[in-house]
Amino acid sequence: MVRDRQVSQGARRAREFEAFVAGAAGRLLHAATLLTAEATDDNPRARRLLTLSLAHTYASWDRLRGEDPYDRARQYLASRFARAAWHQYGGLGRARPHPDSPLGALAPQERLIVVLRLYEGVAEEQAAALLGLPTERVRTICERATARLLHPPRPPVPKVAGAKVAPS
């Protein structure tokens, strides 16, 4: 009896979860790729982030109690990325942003805030609570990052070799 119920519950969970992944994986993977600033077709870090956060959602599927699973997965993704970015800060394993990435010009924290606020449409207060920052700080960072994206600073002028060398 109990085993039967467990089996049917497992089957229902698998069905629900599969539908959830089919609907959410694309958008979450896009968000993760924006976060890690990788190329669209070569994004191992983003895939790993996504796999971990979806696995986490799967493991807590029965205890969601009406909470939005997408919210849960996104929250886990964001906090995991924030932690990883903190550990990699200035370290040797720091990944260089890919030049094709739209957010490659931003720092990891700026990317996280821009993706949460503008791509995912999370409210300022929620994003601030998620990251443990004051709301004003989130707004400031978001505006600075937006400005930098729309008006990128000019790349330093490459020095012309030998321009000032006196002809000999």
Partner: protein, 82 residues
């Protein structure tokens, strides 16, 4: 450009190139998630077993030792020749 326009422009930049979801992702998620779930269940079961064992051990000890009974006095010598 005001703030909503700027935000919309950034949104357009971000939505340009959506990545492809790899087909093996779902199986990978199920494998990892299932492992997480099994580990959590095992940890919970272990915790319950430890708690039950502690309760049983305490009950047996209490029944054997009767810690609520006042121990016989050891300092006062027994009365004699009264």
């Amino acid at each position: 450009m005001n703030r909503p326009e700027r935000e919309a422009a950034v949104r357009r930049i971000m939505e340009r190139t959506p990545p492809q979801v790899p087909p093996e992702l779902y199986a990978d998620v199920l494998r990892r998630g299932g492992r997480m779930l099994r580990r959590r269940r095992a940890a919970r079961r272990l915790m319950w077993m430890l708690m039950c064992a502690a309760v049983v051990a305490f009950t047996v000890w209490a029944l054997m030792v009767h810690p609520w009974v006042e121990p016989p006095s050891e300092t006062t010598p027994p009365l004699s020749n009264w």
